[in-house]
């Protein structure tokens, strides 16, 4: 099982992407997608870093919904800021201490932070496990850190149980 399917999630992703790229047009593509989904993970097995194994599905779907909604809010927020007076904007660098030490989950958190309102992640300091964030308009750094931790980090820790 593990030798034939070293990365089940990757296999499923490859299968779906191939089907979608060909608009599910013919049954031949389903066979080809199946072959690629089995073959590619085996061939590229040695390139992939270790990942947390167990993934809880229900919190993942909930987090996906939250992030999707926040992307919409983020764009509207940036739009308002861009069109309004720029002098009153208060940008700042903020450091968010992380409660986990997993490179994969950290990367996921950094990407989510980049897409959601007011913040772009700059770097994860691997020696101290601190996420450096640039915030576009910050009134109170403490509230920002707290909101990142409760809104995104806690669900991520729940999903990957780390």
């Amino acid at each position: 099982m593990s030798r034939l399917l070293p990365h089940p999630a990757l296999s499923v992703a490859i299968f779906l992407v191939w089907i979608a790229l060909n608009n599910a047009s013919s049954s031949g593509h389903f066979i080809l997608a199946f072959i690629l989904a089995i073959g590619l993970p085996v061939l590229t097995q040695r390139f992939w870093p270790e990942r947390p194994e167990k993934v809880k599905l229900l919190p993942a779907i909930r987090l996906f919904g939250v992030v999707l909604w926040d992307i919409l809010l983020a764009s509207i927020g940036v739009a308002k800021l861009v069109l309004g007076p720029i002098d009153r904007v208060k940008p700042a660098f903020v450091e968010v201490p992380l409660d986990m030490q997993d490179p994969f989950v950290g990367t996921l958190l950094a990407s989510i932070v980049s897409l959601t309102p007011g913040t772009v992640s700059i770097d994860i300091d691997r020696s101290r496990w601190v996420l450096q964030v640039h915030a576009l308009n910050v009134d109170d750094a403490e509230t920002l850190i707290k909101s990142i931790k409760t809104r995104y980090e806690k669900p991520l820790k729940e999903i990957f149980s780390c």
Partner: protein, 101 residues
């Protein structure tokens, strides 16, 4: 094509073009590099996402069969936008620290 589908596609196209424009306005107007990153990563990505969704609905309605490859493009854009923003800010910070020394 029913009139409601046409309204939906038009709405998505306008929202997409609007957000794309707003992202570029942010890029041109904001005063410092780290603020400028916010515009393209969030606003432009969402704009193109909406535009691509309009295209998906349009070709599903007019063509034969579902048009799914647009979904792949949207997912790709949303995965890559934070990565390029991250690398660019990291590079900018690196250069700033080198100049500062």
């Amino acid at each position: 094509m029913s009139i409601w589908v046409e309204y939906l596609i038009s709405f998505l196209i306008l929202v997409g073009a609007g957000f794309t424009l707003l992202g570029s306005i942010g890029l041109a107007r904001l005063p410092d590099f780290f603020m400028r990153v916010h515009g393209p990563t969030k606003t432009t990505t969402l704009g193109v996402g909406a535009m691509v969704m309009a295209s998906a609905i349009y070709f599903t309605v007019t063509g034969d069969g579902v048009s799914l490859h647009e979904v792949v493009a949207t997912v790709f854009l949303f995965i890559t936008a934070p990565v390029s923003a991250h690398l660019l800010t990291k590079a900018a910070l690196h250069i700033a620290s080198r100049v500062g020394k």
